[in-house]
Symmetry: C2
């Protein structure tokens, strides 16, 4: 008999799942606040604006109308149809309602897509830096992540050239995230076309996480759904958390060919039964409203991006590219780390938090090597707060 | 290059997940209705009463107050604390808030518990008949389900004696469901004690799905949480779907020792980020209200159970035990199947649906052999409808 309680003998696959490094630093920020430090946080990846009131009203109406029972694991049929119509107009494509799944946030769509496509031993290209769930879900599924290191010289884009360098015979799938968390990069049209060409040549699947699709300030977002051959190669993932500022409601979207969506419906039944129901009525209302209201939000986020970028570049030892998408910047702080003599960007982040009262995430929270020497700044706060926070950092640096 | 599109090359583990057989028959019922048949359905496992208005108001208030952002993957701290307090009073135990996880329905709690505890090659005892997700999630995790056939002579209880008969050296975990879907059985105190003794002796974990805990009409529900040693051996699972008639909101509960819950928090971050937020305020209100309002509901369900049981036993070839829990009965229809010359209980179910206009689920939808010769009747409809539906079946049988 083992002396370890049996509830503590855990699967090695389950052990592959790790907490997001970001949370460690958000916890540290909370700790700093408890110590009385007035923290300005550039840490959290959650919009600070409010969704349109009509969306929230639609949710409350759905509750009043008793829409609180089980529905299909793939979501409300009318919402699936509306998502198809909305995406077809937005990306000039041909998605059918049966090719849409509503999920418990984009996160569960990522979890299911990776677990569906990854057989034990398969390799999956994941961006580094990148969203931490990609890597550990690939490992959970028994696969092996192949890290594609995004380069500052490529403006952090996952270019076809870099993907070619990573190809091995075991690679089954490429995980793409455009616009990209944490760097703010946005794939160009030729990147999207080139990646799909590789997928066709090598018979690879592309899981494309496009959750930040509406946060693009220069040029435009190029969706993999716009490619005529998307159906054979692409699983598109998005949701209502970022554009509609509904992170806590957990309504995501997956688009893939019908056979894939059917299988996802079966996975969903076993993982969570169905996505939360009343919120799907809010999502339906959101798509009916469209994005006119979002233009002002986007302008404001562009002003924030510019303010943050300008202020960062005034800090000695910091170099920030003016990234075209998301609400993140990914400044290079290598000179600052070495100038101040810190062992790592993590130590620098801690010092800035506790000494300057500013929370920035070390690039290595996403999740490995690619972010070493960089920091993630999330500009989901007003311009004056952005300036104040980065002034503090600059003064702190200059005082050292 | 393969000729199969890469998005269709799927993991064998993901293929282990199967749709619930019940849905096939609910789809058939919809088809019968389309054909103009007036179907009385005993098919669905969803309460037909309404939750207390205060619960729904609390959800709408939470939305108005802006509680729509991310929270901890383990749920609202105040809800976790309230769940601990509520269960401690209900089951005279010592659950701490850190030992509670709020999940996306009991389903995701089951998914995470099985994936956490099952290492490839491990065996897990699952009840047969039983909730289909148990079996396929064990397979998804790389484990092997060992089916414990529940016997009519045991009143369908998973007794310690039956478990002893199933033990092999690879068994790591016992999946218990009390009160039990689909049979309506409720474990006795000595069953719970005996199962825990086996767990202690063999160092096995018990995953105890107690989602029907409040639907017990004779005697009382004995929770594994009442056992003083629960912490080392038990993962308790429940939720707000059944007692509070909130199936579509997806708010579940898991209780386990703190180290397990921490790991579940990490799994949850990777699978769905956090449970839907506003609904957790409804759940909090529900526990504050307590179960006084539920007494009338339970009385009504007992009347329904008795009506259904009486009517079933009037049908030639049908023998129904008066099961003490859930809202299901599991009548033995073996004599009827052979008397009418059907190949299987599935064929009988189809004939009753299309010829008598009554939807009953074949026991083999749950999910294998144990339910052969049985049917599941769900009594979530008014007594007069129950009588009308079962009269129809009786007349149909007598006319053959």
């Amino acid at each position: 008999m083992s002396s370890v309680p049996p509830t503590l003998i855990h699967s090695t696959l389950a052990k592959q799942l790790e907490a997001e490094g970001a949370f460690v630093y958000l916890d540290l920020a909370a700790e700093a606040r408890k110590k009385g430090i007035d923290v300005i946080s550039f840490g959290i990846g959650q919009p600070d604006f409010k969704p349109p009131e009509e969306v929230l009203t639609a949710i409350k109406d759905a509750i009043d109308q008793g829409h609180i029972g089980y529905i299909s694991s793939l979501g409300l049929p009318e919402l699936r149809a509306k998502v198809a119509e909305y995406l077809n107009e937005k990306y000039n494509t041909d998605v059918k309602p049966e090719e849409v799944a509503i999920t418990v946030g984009a996160k569960s769509a990522i979890f299911m897509a990776i677990n569906l496509l990854t057989r034990p031993g398969d390799e999956v290209i994941v961006p580094d830096p990148g969203f931490p769930a990609y890597e550990c879900t690939v490992r959970f599924a028994g696969g092996r992540p192949v890290f594609l290191c995004l380069k500052e010289e490529d403006e952090f884009r996952m270019t076809p050239e870099r993907v070619e360098e990573c190809l091995t015979k075991n690679i089954k799938c490429i995980l793409v995230n455009t616009p990209h968390n944490p760097t703010g990069s946005v794939l160009k049209k030729e990147d999207v076309e080139g990646l799909l060409e590789i997928a066709k040549r090598e018979n690879l699947a592309i899981i494309s996480d496009e959750i930040y699709e509406d946060f693009v300030y220069e040029g435009k977002h190029h969706s993999f759904l716009s490619m005529p051959e998307w159906r054979d190669y692409v699983i598109y993932i998005s949701g209502f958390s970022k554009t509609w500022a509904l992170t806590g409601l957990r309504i995501g979207i997956m688009v893939a060919r019908e056979e894939v969506i059917k299988k996802v419906g079966v996975m969903a039944i076993n993982i969570y039964s169905c996505p939360p129901v009343p919120f799907q009525y809010g999502a339906l209302k959101a798509l009916e409203l469209g994005l006119d209201w979002f233009k002002d939000i986007k302008e404001e986020f562009k002003r924030r991006r510019d303010a943050a970028c300008d202020e960062l570049n005034k800090i000695p030892g910091v170099k920030a590219l003016r990234m075209p998408g998301t609400f993140y910047l990914f400044p290079n702080v290598k000179d600052l780390v070495s100038k101040l003599g810190y062992k790592s960007v993590k130590d620098l982040a801690k010092a800035i938090l506790f000494e300057a009262g500013v929370a920035l995430l070390p690039g290595t929270a996403f999740p490995l090597h690619g972010g070493d020497g960089f920091m993630r700044l999330s500009y989901v706060l007003p311009v004056d707060k952005i300036r104040e926070g980065l002034h503090r950092v600059r003064e702190w640096v200059e005082s050292k």
